[in-house]
Structure formats: C-alpha cells, structure tokens
C-alpha cells in the first residue's frame, strides 16, 4: 500500500511539472501584457523600466525557471492589475468557490445516489419514473436558465432566499467561510442548487444503471438465497459495488466545478475564482491566470490522487503487494 501511495505521489509531481510548463508557455504566447500595464502614451523609458521590473525582457526559459523557483517557495508573483501577491488574491477567492463546489457535488451525491438506487431497484414504480424524468430535465436544461428561474422563483416571487452575493463569513484558519453562519447558508443554497442539478442527474443515472445490473447478478441472487433482506443487499452489496464509479464521477465533477463554476458565479454574483479568472483574462493579468491554472491543475492532481486511494480502500483487488 505504501509503495502504491509513493508511486502515485511521484506521478502527481511529474504531472504538475509538465502542467506548469504548459501553462506558462501557453499564457506567455497570448497577447502582450505590456499593452495593458502601460498607457499607450507612456515614454519609452517608463516602458523599459516596467518590462525590466516584471522580468519580461528575459528569455522565456529563464522566466519559467524563476517562476518555478518562486512557485516552490509559494510565491506566485504579483497581480499586474491589483498589485497584490497573486496567492493572497486567489486564497481570498478560493473558499467561496470551494464551499460552493463542495455543497453542489455533495448534495448531488447524497440525494442522487439513493434516488438512483431506488430507481434501479424498482424500475417500474411511478416514483422511479418521476425520478428519471427529473434526471432528464437536469441533463437537458441549461445552467444559466435554471439559475435565472431559481432567482425568479425563490428570491423574487417568494422572497425566501437572497438572489445573490455571499453571506456573512466566519474566519477559520485565517480565511472566511460562509457555510458556518445561518445567513451564509441561506446565500449558498440557490447557487449550490443551480450547480448541482446536472450532477444530480448524472449521479441518478449512474446509481440506477449500476443497481439494475447488480440486482440481476448471481451475487445478489445468492445473497437472497441465504436470506439476506433487500435492504441489506442494497446497503452492503450494491452500494459497495457502485461506489467506485460514483467516487470517480464525484472527483471529476468536484474538480471541474472548482474550475468552471463561472456561469453560476456570475449569475449569483458569487465572489469566487470563476469571476476572478474571467476578469484576469480580460485584463491579461498574466500572473493571476498562470497561478489560477497551476492551482486548478494542482487541485485536479490532488483529487485524482485521493480518488485512486479511495479505490484501493474500496476494492481489495486493486491493492498491490498482496499474496494471491
């Protein structure tokens, strides 16, 4: 098991190295940040001084080397636009996106898996048909439209929930979290719901397909022959087997939500990473874009690593170093 973990961590480090180089080069090739930083009528001296200050006159590999060295020390540079360290900028926005993504993916899983399992267990019941209709809606209706409807209904029409922005936050570990206050939770519900609908549909489908297949297997028939109740079989036999694809999708969805919650964050004026990155792309704030992409790559690698480890916990056949 230890060898397995070390091997995966090494792989993750290599992926990170490759990603950071790709990102750095890719972003360097887009536009010219100097045009953004300096007004067109600035003198050549000011121009040169600024270029030198940001190291933009150095060869690309040297800039990358410096970037990598600073990255390893946790220094991601300064934002060209805001003039503050990029790390601060990103860390101030990350919790908002993180709690939104966790809430959305967790809700989709905790609600979607039981619904899907029921639909797979009793495929012909009216409730199952309703569940499947909901999942088709979740797949086919666009996110921005659902977001607007949610605001219209719950915020404007009923006035139950706020239409946007983040609620009160509490400082834990030096950053502000809003899910710890009642007001913050209220603000979180609509955007999280909006983000989770598609994932909910996916979790329902996944759980249903797995449950249907497993319920017809000899394993389940044998368990029934031994007198196990359907409840026990669903909780122990079926859940354990479908948890592997579910963990996979959970990880993928969590990563992509962190990276691409832009639409929902925009609709609900949620001060998260999505808004930050859109702004930084518009203003060609290169250090922010690079740091953001490296961070997202890092989160993906971290999530994949965790998913691999959870696999090994769930399925003994994947553990190495065991005598067959």
């Amino acid at each position: 098991m230890l060898g397995f973990v070390l091997q995966r961590i090494l792989q993750a480090a290599l992926v990170m190295l490759a990603m950071s180089a790709l990102v750095f080069v890719g972003v360097y090739a887009i536009g010219n940040p100097i045009d953004v930083l300096i007004s067109p009528d600035a003198t050549q001296d000011i121009r040169d001084a600024t270029i030198a200050r940001y190291g933009l006159d150095r060869p690309l590999w040297e800039q990358y080397g410096g970037f990598l060295g600073r990255l390893l020390q946790g220094d991601l540079g300064r934002s060209l636009v805001f003039g503050v360290p990029v790390l601060h900028l990103i860390l101030s926005r990350l919790p908002a996106t993180l709690e939104l993504a966790v809430a959305a993916v967790l809700a989709a899983t905790l609600i979607g898996v039981p619904l899907g399992m029921y639909a797979g267990y009793r495929p012909d019941s009216p409730l199952s048909k309703t569940i499947m209709t909901v999942s088709i809606l979740g797949f086919s209706v666009p996110t921005f439209w659902v977001g607007l409807i949610l605001i219209l209904f719950f915020a404007v029409e009923l006035g139950w929930l706020p239409a946007g922005s983040r609620g009160e936050t509490v400082e834990v570990f030096g950053v502000g979290w809003s899910f710890l206050t009642a007001n913050g939770l209220k603000h979180l519900i609509l955007p999280a719901l909006n983000l989770s609908l598609f994932k909910l549909a996916m979790m329902i489908r996944l759980a249903r397909a797995g449950t249907r297949e497993i319920m017809l297997s000899d394993t389940v028939k044998f368990a029934r022959a031994a007198g196990l109740s359907d409840g026990t079989i669903l909780r122990r036999h079926v859940l354990k087997l479908i948890s592997i694809p579910i963990v996979t999708v959970f990880g993928l969805e969590f990563g992509s939500t962190l990276a691409f919650a832009v639409v929902t964050e925009t609709i609900f004026s949620w001060p998260g990473l999505g808004k930050l990155v859109i702004d930084s792309i518009q203003s060609l704030d290169r250090p922010v874009m690079v740091a953001y992409l490296v961070l997202i790559a890092f989160l993906f690698v971290l999530i994949n690593l965790s998913v691999d480890l959870v696999y090994a916990l769930l399925d003994p056949r994947l553990r190495r170093g065991q005598v067959a």
């Binding site: 297997s217 028939k221 044998f222 368990a223 031994a226 007198g227 196990l228 036999h237």
Partner: protein, 328 residues
C-alpha cells in the same frame, strides 16, 4: 405421504411472461423428498432444472412467476407466502448453492463479512461467536487454515475453495433442505470429485436433504438415492437411482443412459439422442419428447399422464418397462 417427508412439491408450474411469449419453464412438477434423502434432478440444459430450484425458494424474478402448485417445507406451504416470511425461510430452513462460484460471492467483501451477513440475516450473534461459527463451518467443508481464509477476499482463493465457501454459507443455519444447482459443473474434474465426496458425507452426518441438480447423469448417479429426469419443463421419470439406471421406462432416460461415456463399448462412437432441446416457447403438442422419440405414435400427440406411484413413475405412452398396474 411419508411421515419423514421434508419437502413435498405438487403440481408446481412456473412461467416467464416475455415479449416473445409465455415460456412455461416448469410444468406440473411433483416430488417428495425424505429427511436425509438425496434427489438427483437431471436433464439437458434448458429443461427447467434451475427454475425448479429457484421456485422452491421463491426466488423467481419477473417476468417469471409461480403460476400453480404447492411447495411444502416441513409441512409449511411456501407458495404464496409474503416476501418477508419467505426471506426468513431462505437460508435458514432451505438453502441453495449455485453453479458458478466465480459469480456468487461478492467480489469486494471479505469472506468473513459475507458469512457474517448470512448469519445476521437470521440470528443475533456476537462478533466472536460469529467468527467461531464461520471457522467451524469452513472446517467442516474441508477448507484448510479456515481462520486465515476467513479474512481473505474471494479473488484470493481458488474456484474450488469459493464453492466450498458457498457450501459453508448454505450450511450455516443447518437447513432441512439444500438445493445444489450444478455446483461442480464449473470446476476441474478432480475438484469436482472431491466436493462430490464431501457433500455426500456432509449431508449424511447432518441429516440434511439434498436436491442435486445436474445435466450429467453420471454425477447424479454417484450421489443420489433417487433420480428425477426432467424434459421440456416436466419430470418425465422418477424412481430410486439403481432402478432408474437399470430399468429406465422413459425413452429419454434410455437415451441419456446410452450417451454415457462409461456405458459405451470401447472403440465405438457415443450414441447421441437425435435432435435438440425444444424451445419452451414452442413446445410440440402432446409429449414434448415426441419429435426425438424412437417409439413415437399417434397417441403421443396427447400429453401422457404419469403412471406408477409416488416412488416410481414415468410420463410415457410407450414405456420401455411397464409399471405393475399397466402390466396387470
């Protein structure tokens, strides 16, 4: 009806209502199983043996269901029992072992967990007692180093060992009846012989009655006190093993015997029954064996009723050996 009868099956019929039509997989099956008795249920694949076994446990999944008949286990009627009551019977008083041990055990639960769940389905037993009981039963089915094997996962043990674990799970609650559905068919011949011998002594010492299902008459002959031969969803012949083997009444049984390798004269070709298993969706009118039967006549277009008594009977208009009543 003997006093020692453990399982009495009468007129059992199970059909599958598929889009292509109604498949009458089991029709009018009747037999009685005495305590400690081994009944061999033999027939070609597709003849309805497995469905018969599942019907006895009330484990027929839609689109199939039991459409008629009665299954009495120690006097209690099982057909029509609500599902929660049936669940309490399954595994405790009547158990079943399946054909392919690679498919029956859960791939990612340990053997201890799976046996523990099977115990917990019927009894509240503490952790230590559960473990002790598992080890004891695993020892009984001939698993060496049972204490270590208990913590293994199915992929870590061989097919023969897996089938022994399945047998152990079936034995956990000392059921009155075990249905063994071709439990050795998927195994190596040597393992097959071992398990067969072990099974024989296990049922002998525990007094468990056994329905041993197989397509292989030789396997059934080695183990059973009595034999029932199935064809096209019906039992076409039934009797004590030696009587059926030496004096079969039904031409199909005769055909099975003729095709046994051990019966063939060395150097001659094996005799095969001409034709193939009929589709249950399109059974011929009358006797289902008629199209393949050397003794077929006009009367075979009507379904023959069983002749003889509960211990020795056959369904044939032209039996090879007459029952005493027919001879008289």
């Amino acid at each position: 009806m003997s006093a020692a009868a453990v399982l009495q099956v009468a007129g059992l019929s199970t059909s599958f209502f598929t889009k292509a039509g109604v498949a009458r997989a089991v029709q009018d099956v009747s037999f009685t199983l005495g305590r400690g008795e081994v009944l061999g249920l033999v027939g070609e694949s597709g003849s309805g043996k497995s469905v018969t076994g599942f019907s006895l446990l009330g484990l027929v999944d839609p689109p199939g269901r039991i459409v008629a008949g009665s299954v009495r286990l120690e006097g209690q009627e099982l057909v029509g029992l609500p599902s929660h009551a049936l669940r309490k019977v399954r595994g405790r008083r009547i158990a079943m072992i399946f054909q392919d041990p690679m498919m029956t055990l859960h791939p990612v639960l340990s053997i201890a967990t799976q046996m523990g769940l099977a115990i917990a389905a019927h009894e509240r037993v503490g952790r230590a007692a559960t473990r002790a009981r598992c080890i004891e039963v695993l020892n009984r089915v001939g698993i060496p180093g049972a204490a270590e094997r208990l913590d293994a996962f199915p992929h870590q043990i061989s097919g023969g060992m897996r089938q022994r674990v399945d047998i152990a799970i079936a034995l956990l609650h000392r059921p009155a009846v075990i249905i063994a559905d071709e439990p050795t068919t998927a195994l190596d011949v040597s393992v097959q012989a071992q398990i067969l011998a072990e099974m024989r002594s296990l049922v002998a010492e525990s007094g468990t009655s056994l329905v041993w299902i197989s397509h292989d008459l030789a396997v059934v002959a080695a183990l059973s006190d009595r034999i029932a031969v199935m064809y096209g969803g019906r039992i076409v012949e039934e009797g004590p093993t030696d009587v059926v083997l030496t004096g079969p009444r039904h031409p199909y049984t005769q055909g099975l015997l003729d095709s046994l390798p051990s019966r063939a004269k060395p150097g001659t070709e094996l005799v095969q029954i001409p034709g193939g298993t009929p589709s249950l969706l399109a059974l011929p009118e009358g006797c289902p064996f008629r199209p393949r039967c050397p003794r077929e006549t006009e009367i075979c277009r009507t379904m023959p009723e069983p002749t003889g008594d509960a211990l020795r009977r056959a369904r044939c208009h032209h039996p090879l050996v007459l029952s005493p009543a027919e001879a008289a």
